[in-house]
Amino acid sequence: MALVRIDGDNLVVVNEGLDKLWSFKGSLTIPLANVRGATADPGIAADPKGIRAPGAHVPGLITAGTFHQEGEKVFWNVKNASKAVVVELADEEYARLVLQVDDPRATVALIENALA
């Protein structure tokens, strides 16, 4: 699970609980200027994710950590794919974040409204 909030001009992602061990990133702070958009995307978990390093990928259980795919780094923290939100970034270490959140619709609205 990830908690997503807007703090001033930043997007702050806090990776909660045990996931922290799996994904090695307690929190991420990203300037909103480098956030391109957010999309609820339950289907993304079924796609190939690339090569994991470091992190954990237990198929059907948890996808967490840094994945490398087609020259991009993607941060994953998803157990329940139905609640996955994709946050697309620019000029950041990660090309995108794939996060499980409590309320995908509300999280997408929060981020998109902060960008407007």
Binding site: G37, P42, G43, E70
Partner: protein, 155 residues
């Protein structure tokens, strides 16, 4: 590719179009979709603007030459305005950028009608509203004829 998105978003409510739908209909990888458009909303806005340029713009040009109210109703009720109509009811209330695109497009239709027929702006707006209503109801022929007769009684 954006044309295919216009078709998808014009045929189904925004929440009913998943990223899976977009990936399979647009023929691009999920990663490329995110890299190119940033988000589903980013793609939606581009599709909406494409629809306005490809489908609404030619309608405005045609309306400029409309000789009477009957022609105006005929042009609007036969145009492909699926995404504009759906955006108006489905997204404009939830998305300010969509709202301003839709508002500007409808205002342009009003202006084209006002200029072509030489009628006041509010009557032109009423004609746009009536035409869109007819379009939503499947444009029953008799209704458009009855309305245009009423507006300009036969001499």
């Amino acid at each position: 590719m954006v044309r295919a998105a216009v078709g998808l978003f014009g045929g189904r409510a925004y929440d009913g179009v998943s990223v899976d739908d977009l990936v399979s209909h647009l023929g691009l990888h999920r990663n490329s979709l995110y890299k190119t458009f940033g988000s589903k909303r980013g793609l939606y806005l581009i599709a909406l603007r494409r629809h306005l340029a490809d489908d609404v713009r030619p309608l405005l040009d045609a309306l400029a030459d409309a000789p009477d109210a009957a022609a105006v109703l005929r042009l609007i009720t036969s145009a492909d305005l699926g995404l504009l109509l759906l955006a108006t009811v489905d997204r404009a209330s939830a998305d300010e950028e969509v709202a301003s695109e839709v508002e500007a497009a409808l205002a342009a239709v009003d202006r084209a009608i006002a200029d072509a027929l030489g009628v006041p702006a509010d009557l032109a707006a009423a004609l746009t509203a009536a035409a869109l209503g007819l379009l939503l109801r499947g444009a029953p022929d008799g209704a458009a004829t009855a309305l245009s007769r009423q507006l300009i009684p036969p001499t």
